[in-house]
């Protein structure tokens, strides 16, 4: 008891101000909307408030980040005056505070941050790295605020349409960007390893590219009402938990890439390089041809072609890394730190992925009549889980270290990506609402 009191006394006053703020906000939300929630949702609200305080105390930067996002979201919500059409007319909404405007700002900031990180690594410029960090913070702020505003906007479309924005592929991609960038920011501050942003932001930029394509080509940003299977409080915890997993796995894979490029290694023979690049070019050519012509050549086997070209591109990426081992060894990237963060991220991701899968099973038991149906998504979740379980085993039990684990983390991302995207695109199943 005494120890607890001592630890509390050691906390800064800002911790308590933050906690008070969260409690007030939670209290207002509860008193205004508590009657619309069922017990589970009320419990989630209370739990979320607790988790937020815990996170803020654990990582002080969040004491600023979370209230800022809340303030931006509230400003946006206030400007709507309950009329969704104002997103196209009111100046601040149109250019900054509507959820879609915020998403666009998020995209811009992430792209700029990526560029700054690479500049910072290649020119060894601390300034560029710190600008990159700042831009990543800005992007994360835009991402969280946009999701909050979108949540409100969904209720403006219709009281029965409103739902938390984690219900389709578009919304979870924004969530993925948010979580991955926050994890990067946490680890980079803790291990003073900003330069790893050059790699982590690459995977985020890829996700951002997907978001843009998905918005402009497929109009996926439109808010759709929830189908009955998704109308459950389980969604509020299952999906975010899953994306902490996906985010950490993506982060660790990119750190794996960084580690492979940054660990000094014997230079390859010239012939090997030439053969390697030739092979990579051929693979790219085949993959591009498949993409363009597959519907003519193999009209019957769309899924197989999709998996095939995914594997081809993956092979090219791996070949690219293998041919460029050690190329960044002179730059400020510390392989030991990278490997340690990679391990931390996988351990965290594994924990949350386990929780998410269990929550998913419990939800499935409520919605589909069985906690495990060998649905493709479930099965791939199991494969991902087994993969990282094995990774952790060889690191902890066998004491493996270094390149091999880095390679494995990279391959792990391929498996994870397939479980996350490939299953939705290629395989049909109960999870088909996450489809493209």
């Amino acid at each position: 008891m005494n120890a607890t009191a001592q630890r509390l006394a050691a906390r800064s006053p800002f911790d308590f101000i933050f906690a008070l703020l969260v409690l007030i906000a939670g209290g207002i939300a509860f008193s205004r909307y508590g009657s619309f929630m069922d017990y589970y949702e009320q419990a989630i609200l209370i739990g979320a408030a607790g988790a937020m305080i815990g996170l803020g105390w654990f990582w002080p930067a969040l004491r600023v980040f979370l209230p800022t996002c809340a303030a931006i979201a509230l400003a946006g919500i206030g400007l709507y005056h309950g009329d969704l059409a104002r997103a196209q007319t009111a100046f601040w909404l149109k250019y900054l505070l509507a959820s879609q405007s915020l998403v666009m700002w998020m995209c811009v900031c992430f792209f700029l941050a990526t560029a700054m990180f690479w500049l910072g690594v290649l020119r060894r410029s601390e300034t560029a790295l710190s600008i990159g960090s700042g831009l990543t913070w800005a992007a994360a702020t835009a991402a969280l605020s946009s999701s909050l505003v979108r949540w409100y906007e969904s209720y403006l479309i219709g009281a029965d349409v409103g739902h938390i924005p984690v219900s389709n592929l578009y919304e979870v991609f924004v969530l993925f960007c948010l979580i991955t960038s926050l994890m990067y920011l946490y680890y980079s501050a803790r291990y003073k390893a900003r330069s790893m942003g050059a790699f982590v932001l690459l995977v985020i930029s890829a996700a951002v590219g997907f978001i843009l394509w998905y918005t402009f080509d497929r109009q996926a940003h439109e808010i759709q009402p929830l189908i009955p299977a998704l109308q459950s409080w389980w969604m509020k915890i299952h999906v975010p938990a899953n994306f902490i997993g996906y985010g950490s796995f993506a982060l660790s894979a990119m750190l794996g890439v960084a580690q492979l490029l940054a660990t000094p290694s014997a230079p390859l023979k010239k012939e090997t390089k030439i053969v390697g690049y030739l092979a990579a070019t051929v693979l790219v050519a085949i993959a591009v041809c498949l993409q363009l012509k597959s519907s003519e050549w193999f009209p019957q086997s769309g899924p197989v072609v999709a998996i095939g070209s995914f594997l081809l591109f993956a092979a090219v990426a791996i070949l690219g890394i293998a041919l460029n081992r050690g190329v960044l060894s002179a730059f400020p990237l510390n392989p030991d730190i990278l490997s340690e963060i990679s391990y931390k991220a996988i351990a965290l991701g594994f924990l949350f992925f386990t929780i998410a899968t269990i929550l998913g099973a419990a939800w499935a038991a409520d919605a589909w009549g069985g906690y495990w149906s060998w649905d493709p998504k479930e099965t791939w979740a199991l494969i991902v889980w087994l993969n990282y379980a094995a990774w952790l085993h060889v690191r902890l039990v066998k004491g493996w270290r270094g390149d091999i684990l880095a390679w494995w983390a990279v391959v792990g991302l391929l498996v994870t990506t397939f479980a996350f995207l490939g299953v939705n695109m290629v395989l049909s199943g109960l999870h088909s609402y996450g489809g493209l």
Partner: protein
Amino acid sequence: MRFAISLLTVLAIASIIGTVLKQNEPYTNYHFEFGDFWFSIFEPIGLFDVYHAGWFLGILGFLIVSVSLCIYRHVPGMLRDIKSYRERASYNSLRLIHHHAEIDGTPDQAATEAWLKQHGFRWKTRTEDGVTLLAAKRGSWQKLGYFFAHSAIVVICIGFIIDGNLPLKLREVFGGKVAETRDLPQSQVPPHSRLDASNLSFRGNVTLSEGGGGDVVFLNAGNGYFVQELPFVLKLKQFHVEHYSTGQPKRFASDIDVFDHAGKLLKSGTVEVNKPLIVDGVAIYQSSFGDGGSPLQFARWDLMTGQQTTLAGRSQSEQPFQNGQEKYTLEFGDLRVFNIENMGKLAAQTSAVAVDQFSQALASARSVRAERNLKNLGPSIQFKLRDSAGQATEYLNYLAPFNDSGANYLISGVRHAVTDQFSFVRMPLDDDMKPDTFQRLRATLLDQRTWPEIAKRTADKAFKDGAFSATNRNQFEAVTTSVLQQFAQGGFPALEKFLVAKVPQEQRQGIAQTYLKILQGATVDAMDVAQQRAGLQPLPVDPEHYRFLMDSLVAASSLFDYGPQVYLQPVGFTEVKSSGFQLTRSPGKNVVYLGSILLVLGIFCMFYIREERLWLRVADGRTLLAMSSNRRSSDFDREFERHRTALLPETGDSA
């Protein structure tokens, strides 16, 4: 360990096969997809139901055994280790620990103990031969994490086996149970394919119509099924489906009553997606819905004569059907009460100007509301007319009129093969919103007895207007009759065929236009004749009615491709819905959940509790601090520094 990893790899690969290859499809689909040769290879090794194949369960079994052995081997040692403080560590062994520091002087014991207590250490002090060794440790739960996580795997697998189909498989092998593969009424399924209500665990499906009930569910088993008897009778009172304004489904719910076999009401309630009802340990889930056989009323139109009679039917059922001499089977499919269709983009959304398209793309990327031109086309009925040779024509007929810029139509879709798209016929409705006038017109156009009269009237008009003043009137009438005759043999396509056969290519276009004009003129006159024969007033001459006539002409032509010349116009229905339920009894569920909790707890302990041991050895005025952890990381380096500065205040010669 190596063995376990290879098992896991096989398991993962098998699981991948299971996700790529669609599981539990009807066997005929596999035959069709892979051919007989591959089917005969895939089927015995269970690729069509990987997750229930014997070898898959075998691997799982091995995994349980291997993990159990692992626990059995490691746990006793771990328990000893957890209990032990290692207070007998020698000076040399402590110096070999990577994190150690040594100074001259002795720290204050009370301060040391207070510090250790504050940081959650527990310790033991041992004094011997002037050497005081304080051995402390914390985070012993870390080791328990291993036990939790690994036993969780075993627990979960046991739960799986209880709920999986292993018990059923064993009964198939040893208990003489055989899956039924024939399509039989439930009551005729023989006892060796029936499972009684005491079955420990099952997961099956049943579909009930509103007002109907059932006391069995069907369990899939490879190529066949089992009939599982329920401990109660399930009755569907009513099924509700609600839609969003966009037409997407919003809520599926079934009001059900559950009776025991004596007829006593056990429970009454509503089952919804995500909200199952649990009765007697059996969970009842909403899993699908459909049409449960609704009484339907039709106006039956003979398309040759325009005669109308009535017809009654029931969706999801078959009945004989006679059209003239031909005998058909009328196979009713689904009645769909709502048909909300996206009618394409609104005019405002389609812009040809490129700059506008860009700004529109931006504007649409900014808007989260989907702008869709949605329209409810009202109830529709799908059915097939199968002739005695087994050839079927499929129809999709709508009940409500479809309004297109002011004019109303009845829509009927037709296709001659299941793989085709429906092609739609739009039959225009008259001023009374009825198809009668159109039917009358078509019958008249097809009736050769009326052609001379029509041709005469058309010629009258043509020569009065002076459009064909130079032509011989008899010849004009003959041409008109011929055009009508060709049209009556197959509509516009027949007319075109005639042109292709008889007219040289260079003149064809001109002649075709003339024919079309004549036909259009003749249609107006045919309408007058039809009205006159029916004893009705002629249609007023105005643009609306002219449009009606031209639409009629198009529809009259399309109906030649309609298969049997009968149109069944839906005029009424009484909706009876059906609801599909999944019923499960899964006693292993709680076992699996218990395992899951253990698993999370275990993983948390393993990764987020660091087991640390700390030794403080005081002898001869020198103090040695050593710390070890089960995991080396930079965090631990920092941790050691913290303890060193606190416990060994004066900086000594740290090694």
